[in-house]
Amino acid sequence: MIPALERAVELAIGAMLVGLALWSVLVRPRFASIVGFVVFGLLLMLAWMRLGAPDVAMTEGAIGSGLAGFLLLSAAARLRCSEIRRARIGAGEPQRARDRSPRRSSIVALGVGCAAVAAALAAAVAALPHPAPSLAPAALERLPELGIGNPVSGVLIGFRALDTLVEKIVLVVALVGVWGLAAEASWRRAPSVDPSPEIEPIRFLARALPPVGIVLAIYLLWRGATEPGGAFPAGAILAAMAVLVLAAGLGRLPPTAARSLRLAICAGPLVFLGVGGLGMGVARGFLDYPAGFEVLSIKLIEVLLTGSVAVVLLLLVAGPPEEAASANGMRRPEPPL
């Protein structure tokens, strides 16, 4: 009875996921497509839980449907605002805009290309030997040497530390790319999340939620050693809380030129590199943690990484610095009466 039930749940979630993915790609209005994506993230989270991967589920929830949903809706607002502007400027302008949109032939080519990639991936997955080759038993066997109970954290910060290190550096590079979009005049100025105009409920939320969010982030970071959690979900939650505070107009970002901001962005990767480099001197090589200090090194790296991940994600959502906040179509808050 129970296995049949579980199979039914798996089939139901899988069917909803595929259907929703197709719908959000094919549906015409941009807004509907974004909502589809957010809901897809929620369902994907359930799928990850069903697959026994709570760490991935947590990160998917925090990034996929939390921060990414916010980012996509902000981007959609901006696009819509510029379309509204174009619509006033004249009938000729939207015509040209439509000409700029991709040709039908290139859309078809793209679709065929994507389908080919998907088919190749499916074929590769189907061709895997059964059971698939796995290093999981070897990793689990040596986990106690790291002094960490959560295998996911052990692999991320221990056995595959190089991957994680490069991943964090990629995050910083992504931020550099976003900042590179800044106009000459606004370079070195402060990026901003424009405050919402109707701010009362949002303000209330921005005052009530962050204390809980900060406690939750610390809890996840702390539990990350033995249970699912860790630096990335914790950082993502902190970033989300900061976005909320900015959207409520209760805070302001420092200019990109601020040394403290740049230090916060780099602190995690730098300390990671430093501890890794130390391994070349006192242990057996790069990213080999000093014997007896494994847990301490890992905790130090994780705490600083959480901070850096939070700051980078927040700045990625805020986007490049802009000359005037009203330029992206959000209204400035009305002065109090």
């Binding site: 015409r28 209005p29 941009r30 807004f31 607002a77 819509r80 379309e83 509204i84 174009r86 619509a87 006033r88 400027i89 004249g90 009938a91 939207p94 439509r98 109707e198 009362e200 409920p201 949002i202 209330f204 939320l205 009530a208 939620l209 809980v212």
Partner: protein
């Protein structure tokens, strides 16, 4: 002991079933009610009472008190989210819905009754 256990299980079955009832009612309302305002009414019932009753029902089943506390925190967070979101949806309804594109992908006022329904698209008047 077994009587207590049976009573606790009964409590769980009762409250979880009630919670599911609110979820079913909320979804039914979501699908059958005629407009956004009435659907909002259905949504908040599922949010507040559906999750709440499920959480209360699960309390006797948790292994440790800390887990139970976490469940209560989740309910509190859902209540907060629900209260704020319903305010936000209602304000979108009163202040005017977002200006959406029409079927051809061009910008036009979304629905009639917005502050914008000046008979035609936003850019119509700019024609020489």
């Amino acid at each position: 002991m077994s009587v207590v256990a049976a009573l606790l299980d009964g409590w769980t079955v009762l409250l979880v079933c009630a919670g599911i009832g609110f979820f079913v009612a909320g979804t039914t309302g979501m699908l059958r009610f005629p407009d956004a305002a009435t659907r909002l009414h259905a949504l908040t019932k599922a949010d507040n009472l559906g999750v709440g009753l499920v959480v209360l029902g699960l309390l006797p089943q948790v292994a440790r008190p800390a887990e139970g506390f976490k469940l209560l925190v989740i309910w509190a967070l859902v209540l907060l989210a629900s209260a704020v979101s319903s305010q936000l949806v209602a304000r979108v309804a009163t202040d005017g819905p977002p200006i959406e594109e029409d079927r051809n992908g061009r910008t036009a006022p979304a629905a009639s009754g917005t502050p914008l329904d000046r008979s035609g698209s936003v850019g119509a008047g700019a024609q020489p």
